[in-house]
């Protein structure tokens, strides 16, 4: 698809010139892919890949250093009974707990992601949002999960949304060691239409997002298969037009191994296998990990272990 911002006179004209998404057709396609049957060796491979793509998340008011330390221990060693179980991709916490996570994960290769920009609502001044980002990075986050200003987006104030992402991207780039990785949360549950999801995806990518992410997990619906599919189409088309690959992260509501595998099939048959890698696709989740581990053990031993055989974080 030959879509570039250059030549389009303004952002609004460009975003509204993107092809529409037919809701019925998009949902039918996602449902068809959800029906793929992934068995035996394919399932084993997919379970391990899914584990390695998890951003293991806790984003609660009641989070404490103790809770985050426990989560980090789980990230390092998901299954104490089976050291071959892969590690997760990252831990995702609020910025004030990023330091705890960073200390716990030093030298493991597991990333520390921090939400920022007045997560989850994004309702604050730009100064406050940028301060939040700088603080998260200073506390040790190497990945920043920002939220867009959905109010501005729905009001048609695309330039504002765009300039905020650009400013956050600059703050991320200023971090040491090549800069922090920027994930842009669209909060698709508040954008309501697939057309908006596609427009917000392009807007975020044009503004410099390294990843586009569906949801905060605080709004229902969070990640869905059709929304993720529309975002995967967007990153696919964006790479074709701009030559830059952008990652995708569905987050919220993904609880079972079956769900996770459906997402991997969606990636495989929409954006393509280049995205089947923790560098380009993540699953934002908390309880998902244990179900993946349970299925993994079932594949290896032929029987299910009870929930008490898997550690709570």
């Amino acid at each position: 698809m030959s879509i570039t911002l250059e030549g389009a006179r303004d952002l609004r004209g460009f975003l509204h010139g993107l092809p529409g998404v037919d809701r019925v057709g998009a949902e039918a396609r996602a449902a068809m892919l959800a029906g793929r049957s992934i068995k035996t060796t394919a399932k084993q491979w997919a379970l391990d890949l899914a584990i390695s793509m998890i951003d293991l998340t806790t984003l609660e008011g009641q989070d404490t250093p103790g809770k985050v330390r426990a989560l980090c221990a789980k990230a390092r060693q998901p299954d104490p009974a089976d050291p071959t179980a892969p590690r997760v991709a990252a831990i995702c916490v609020y910025s004030d707990l990023a330091r705890v996570a960073a200390q716990e994960l030093t030298g493991t290769g597991i990333h520390v992601a921090s939400v920022a920009t007045s997560f989850p609502s994004g309702r604050a001044s730009l100064d406050v949002k940028l301060a939040d980002v700088r603080y998260a990075i200073a506390e040790g986050a190497d990945e920043v999960d920002m939220v867009i200003d959905r109010g501005a987006f729905l009001a048609g104030n695309y330039d504002l949304v765009y300039s905020e992402i650009v400013a956050v991207k600059e703050a991320c780039a200023a971090a040491g060691g090549g800069g922090a990785h920027l994930k842009v949360i669209l909060e698709t549950g508040e954008l309501a239409t697939y057309d908006n999801v596609r427009r917000a995806s392009w807007l975020a990518m044009l503004a410099g997002a390294d990843f586009i992410k569906t949801s905060t997990g605080k709004v229902s619906p969070a990640a869905t298969l059709p929304v993720t599919m529309v975002m995967l189409e967007a990153v696919r088309d964006f790479r074709e037009a701009h030559g830059r690959q952008v990652g995708v992260k569905p987050a919220g509501g993904i609880r079972t191994a079956k769900d996770a595998i459906r997402y991997l099939v969606l990636v495989n048959e929409t954006a393509g296998e280049d995205w089947l890698d923790p560098d380009w696709f993540r699953l934002g989740a908390s309880s998902l990990l244990n179900d993946l581990l349970m299925q993994r053990t079932k594949m290896k031993t032929g029987h299910y272990e009870g929930p008490d055989y898997f550690t709570l974080d």
Partner: protein, 478 residues
């Protein structure tokens, strides 16, 4: 090698109990032939022999028609509509109960992916019986007078592309309206019709209301020309349809025909592109293109031609061709050696005519009948592949500049069964739909079926409608 290799996920065959041989279902029981012979029916995916079936001879046809006549006069036409409805509801429920078995059997004998027989064919079969069960006691409200009566005995001949679904399209309305039937399934796909005969027994349908006689063209001819039938319903090729129409005219016999097509799938520059590409794929590669209403002519607005073709090619690479019983198969086997030969012949002709042929890299199984998904670009209206029905996974791509030109090209065919329009502009959809001479016009979708929606053609695509209120007319004396 692909990163994510889907392991084989075959649906189990064990649910299907095939008999070694099948007789003819006449007057409520399976009987041997009096003057016919037996032939073998195979799986087109492997050429494995599945069972032996009977080719009904003239006296078998006569017995079946006689049984249908007796059932019509003595029981079925005398039953109140609400009693007929009970049988149809029962059949619908039995189809649902046996849906997995029927889906596997359909895929085995036809070659279509289990995904389609399981998710499309069999659910629609049940839906057709449920829908028409609902009409059986409400016919006086169908708009055909205060007490519309049945016609009598219907002779029905169905094709091999949707064996059980076409059976349902024929039998459900006929029975709902009070007729009895003698149905002949296609020569290559008799097995689900024979399973349906068992369902009629299970449902305690009065003997003779449904008779199923297997066989080939000669059996069909004997049925069409039998003096004891009152109506012929045929779905199949235009060539055979014309012969049947001539025979029926000679005999002053009612008939409805649903024949071939060469549908235009029209993509405008403002289409929802990703869904349009899905719709193109679904339009021509669904059921290996063995669909009379397949979107076999793609008309793309020239301004988005490159983009559409690039997206389409990328999408085709992900199509999974192979074992019809594998749950991940998107494209199954061609139904017969004869059909494969026809597809090859027309495709070779397309190349010879100067169109550019493209298929995604795809390995074809060594045994069975297979043809890769194929796109022809640079096709003109003058090419035979733009005019003749290929009835296979072969798409001809043409371009247009304006809506008026799209209509002109879409209608410039001897057929008129279906068409598709892809645009985000509602007013353009309506403008197009009122000008396209096709029985069905799909907007931003393709190959969607519902028993409440009438289906049928213009011109050489046939006459009469099936489904919906309109479809009842074919089985009522109005």
């Amino acid at each position: 090698m692909p990163k994510f290799e889907y392991a084989p996920a075959p649906e189990s065959r064990s649910i299907v109990n095939l008999r070694e041989s099948y007789g003819l279902f006449i007057d409520g029981a399976f009987t041997d032939t009096a003057d016919g012979r037996v032939f073998k029916t195979i799986s087109p995916a492997t050429e494995e022999v599945l069972a032996e079936v009977t080719e009904a001879g003239p006296s078998d046809v006569d017995r079946a028609v006689t049984a249908a006549r007796k059932a019509y006069e003595q029981t079925w036409s005398r039953l109140p509509g609400k009693e007929r409805a009970k049988y149809l509801f029962r059949i619908a429920r039995l189809v649902q109960e046996r849906s997995r078995e029927l889906a596997v059997l359909e895929s085995l004998n036809n070659g279509k992916p289990i995904k389609e027989s399981r998710d499309v064919d069999i659910p629609l079969v049940a839906a057709h019986f449920f829908y028409h069960a609902g009409w059986a006691d409400k016919l006086e409200f169908a708009g055909y007078g205060s007490s519309p009566g049945p016609i009598g005995v219907a002779g029905q001949i169905i094709p091999w592309n949707f064996p059980l679904l076409m059976l349902a399209w024929k039998i459900a309305p006929a029975l709902a309206c009070g007729n009895t039937v003698v149905l002949k399934p296609a020569e290559t796909t008799p097995l689900t019709a024979l399973a349906f005969a068992e369902i009629c027994q299970q449902a305690d349908l009065p003997p003779g209301v449904v008779n199923i006689i297997t066989g080939a063209g000669e059996t069909g001819r004997a049925l069409v020309e039998h003096p004891g039938i009152d109506k012929v319903a045929f779905t199949g090729s235009t060539e055979v349809g014309k012969q049947i129409a001539r025979a029926c005219r000679r005999m002053h016999r009612r008939n409805t025909l649903e024949l071939g097509g060469k549908a235009a799938n029209i993509v405008f520059e403002d289409a929802p592109m990703d869904q349009a590409v899905e719709g193109i794929v679904n339009g021509i590669f669904f059921n290996q293109g063995h669909v009379c209403c397949a979107g076999s002519r793609l008309l793309v607005q020239e301004s988005v031609y490159d983009e559409v073709i690039a997206s389409l090619r990328r999408r085709l690479v992900t199509l999974r061709l192979g074992d019809p019983l594998d749950k991940n198969t998107d494209v199954g086997a061609i139904n017969s050696a004869a059909q494969l030969a026809k597809i090859r012949e027309l495709s070779d002709l397309g190349e010879a005519e100067g169109a550019e042929r493209w298929s995604p890299p795809c390995e074809l199984p060594a045994r069975g009948f297979w043809f890769p998904p194929t796109i022809f670009t640079g096709v003109a209206q003058a090419h035979r592949i733009a005019r003749e029905e290929i009835f296979g996974p072969v798409l001809s791509v043409l371009t247009f500049r304006t809506p008026a030109e799209a209509v002109e090209k879409a209608n410039n065919t001897p057929y008129g069964l279906s068409a598709g329009v892809w645009t985000e502009k509602g007013s353009l959809i309506l403008w197009m739909a009122s000008r396209l001479r096709a029985g069905v016009v799909w907007a931003n979708t393709f190959n969607r079926f519902d028993p409440a929606s009438p289906f049928g053609g213009y011109k050489e695509s046939g006459y009469g409608r099936e489904g919906g209120r309109h479809g009842l007319e074919a089985y009522l004396d109005v």
